[in-house]
Symmetry: C2
């Protein structure tokens, strides 16, 4: 039987992980496929002909020029593992032009340009796979594409950024500040020197854009998604959340409503008794609600050389099988046009209970003034909470409000912002209902 | 584009669920596939030409003779949804002989004869799909077959029988007896009049046989799997388990060891802090440990018309896509021969800490006698626990022992059994380490 040959571009974390697995599992992969998956060529910027590769991959051509991979006649599948949106796009376009199928781990590029890249792939009669682009260790693409493809998805809620989940759960566990845990995570190499992509929600937003496109068959780009990061969360917010039977997580949510699809990445209160609330550290998780299949839940490592490497290798196996069978998939998972039913709409249409946290210079009449503003927006007050505090002069307190529109709550927050007794703008977090 | 036509045999719970979804989701399915999936014919024993089908399926031929489906030239895929191992086998063999691809929800048949049925299917160049045979709402086949196929599975642990999980979690929640909750479940229709398949572990054993075959690529049959049901668990066992920071669940376990694969379905103590311990009611869950990808977890409804229907419809979509592309899979997920590395071995080789519960007529010297027997088997005693009880004369107590071989513990239990102060044989439950 004819083997299928892979060219791997990018030998960072994910590329090295994938190569190690391809080498270590070569025999088992051959049993599962009925033929061998061979690494024909590898490329990275710093690679030379003498670079050591894992045992069993010694025959692979080594190059530092990716063009040699996408034009190599022996290569059937190109694994684009360099990341980013510039060279990666050239690699993918080059592979497409040369009739090579593609496996990519590139969330940013697929979130921005996935629909267009898929269209070109279909025209070129090649296959494209991107399991590793979202939640590395969780095979959520296979689940949505194959496992529950017959269902109609109603909502998804995920924890898709391991760094921010690690920071939040450590803040919760140890009662320490965001800055202190972030600094520690940076020192340990868990967080980047510039942490913005993780803690401001942009990384999670790219992942949600891809997942929502797959789940709803809708054309979704990152700009359709409301995003808010975790920098303003404090250890005291966890104390208040616990008081309310909740915890705080950076939740990636997509929910079909009568008005359209509401998409957001933001910190939210979720009930402590839910499985999602028990996702700790660098783990990722996705909750899916189907109209027919009901609730399903998927959990695993979000990143790392080996978990993401498994996603890449599993994609290579699937694409290899289809190459051997002469049947690339011909339907893009990204919609060609908006279907209407799932068209993204503004988060301002969303109704939720909200947690509003205030840090003030104490004086009489504060609650009355805040409650007056809420009442003027037709927002019903649920509870006022104040935990004992030893920082008496700017003690935080919390008001929870009944389900109200995001629009009304944002308007109220805007009106409160200039009030002289506030030491900072109010923090408003939605309280997510159980999916 | 040419449509693909389905013949559905069996209109019970699962068949009706699948038909409803095929009708309700027809347009979305066509968008995802790029062609239509049509129901050409349906069959059930009581069906007549005038039986009402869901809207949109009115054109389907109705018959009470399954032979008319498997020989119908318009039918491309036969959905075998009758269950059991007799007629179902004839249907599958008939479909195979007529070159129809097959989707089945039949755990019993696939656990017993899956390898042989797959071999025939491959020879006949048809495809076979069986997502619905295990944990209906959880797409665990897609996960193992596609999503994490590049990994090497080390262990799986599942809760695969919803009825027994419902009984255990209700006993735990309400402190009531097995008999009382079972009776209630039977009255509510959650449990069968003859509950043996569920509460004695046989249903879960069939499911584990299929999952383990997929996960390890090994030929596994139900007789390779140690099985013990939940009839002996009492509300007091939950009290003791909680005291130890654990709960009790019917765990389907498969674990690769240096000596081979150890397979069991049995009640076990698992830590309350694990996600698996928080699977309640009729839900199912599967924990998978991969050598490279680490821990992943999958959760959803275990049964029911709609969740299992989604599995059937998703399988139909995948098989239809492959029929259209002319590429049935050619590698059986069941091994042709034992691979050695994963050959099942006796559970007696397993090392675990154990929970031993005794119900006795109190008299001096009981602990000394039991401890003496344990010592003679080289089993180290960990703790002796006795909760306050108002049934003084046959109060239960618990001994936990250090990790020991199942062989030694079973030997000790055998030696204890005739002791005159025991009111019943000791109950021995393994304490599962976290995966």
């Amino acid at each position: 039987m004819k083997d299928v040959h892979v060219g791997v571009i990018g030998l960072g974390n994910v590329g090295s992980g994938a190569l190690s697995i391809l080498a270590a599992n070569a025999d088992q992969i051959a049993v599962k496929l009925g033929f061998r998956l061979r690494v024909a060529a590898v490329c990275s910027r710093s690679l030379s002909g003498s670079t050591k590769l894992p045992d069993g991959l010694g025959d692979a051509v080594r190059t530092s020029d990716w063009r040699e991979i996408v034009t190599n006649p022996r290569v059937d599948i190109v694994a684009e593992l360099v990341g980013g949106t510039t060279v990666a796009r050239e690699i993918i376009d080059g592979a497409t032009a040369n009739g090579k199928s593609i496996v990519t781990a590139n969330k940013e590029l697929m979130a921005l340009s996935g629909a267009e890249i898929w269209d070109r792939a279909i025209k070129a009669n090649i296959n494209l796979a991107m399991e590793a682009s979202v939640a590395g260790g969780i095979p959520i693409h296979a689940v949505l594409r194959e496992g529950i493809s017959g269902d109609r998805i109603v909502a998804i809620a995920g924890i898709l950024n391991g760094t921010s989940n690690y920071i939040l759960t450590e803040m919760e566990r140890r009662g320490e500040s965001f800055d202190s845990i972030l600094g520690e995570a940076q020192a340990l190499g868990y967080a980047e020197a510039d942490p913005s992509a993780d803690v401001d929600g942009y990384d999670a937003r790219s992942k949600l854009a891809i997942l929502a496109a797959l789940a709803f068959g809708e054309r979704i780009t990152p700009s359709d998604i409301f995003v808010e990061g975790i920098r303003r969360i404090t250890a005291q917010d966890f104390d208040y959340a616990h008081q309310l039977g909740h915890t705080i997580r950076l939740i990636c949510g997509a929910r079909q409503t009568e008005r359209g699809l509401i998409l957001s990445v933001r910190p939210a209160l979720i009930r402590q008794s839910t499985i999602l609330a028990n996702v700790r550290g660098a783990y990722n998780a996705v909750w899916v609600k189907g109209q027919f299949g009901g609730d399903t839940f998927y959990y695993g490592r979000g990143a790392g050389a080996s978990p993401t490497g498994v996603a890449v290798v599993s994609d290579l196996m699937r694409v290899a099988r289809e190459i051997r069978n002469g049947s690339p998939e011909r339907v893009s998972p990204f919609a060609h046009e908006r279907l209407g039913e799932y068209a993204p709409v503004s988060i301002k249409l969303q109704h939720r209970a909200y947690y509003l946290r205030f840090r003030v210079n104490d004086r009489p009449g504060i609650i009355a003034e805040l409650a007056g503003i809420l009442a003027s927006k037709q927002i019903g007050l649920e509870a006022v909470l104040q935990l004992p505090s030893n920082t008496k002069d700017h003690l935080p307190f919390v008001i929870t409000v009944e389900p109200s529109s995001e629009q009304a709550v944002q308007d109220a927050v805007e009106q409160m912002r200039p009030l002289s007794f506030l030491r900072e703008a109010p923090l408003a977090l939605p309280m997510e209902p159980p999916l």
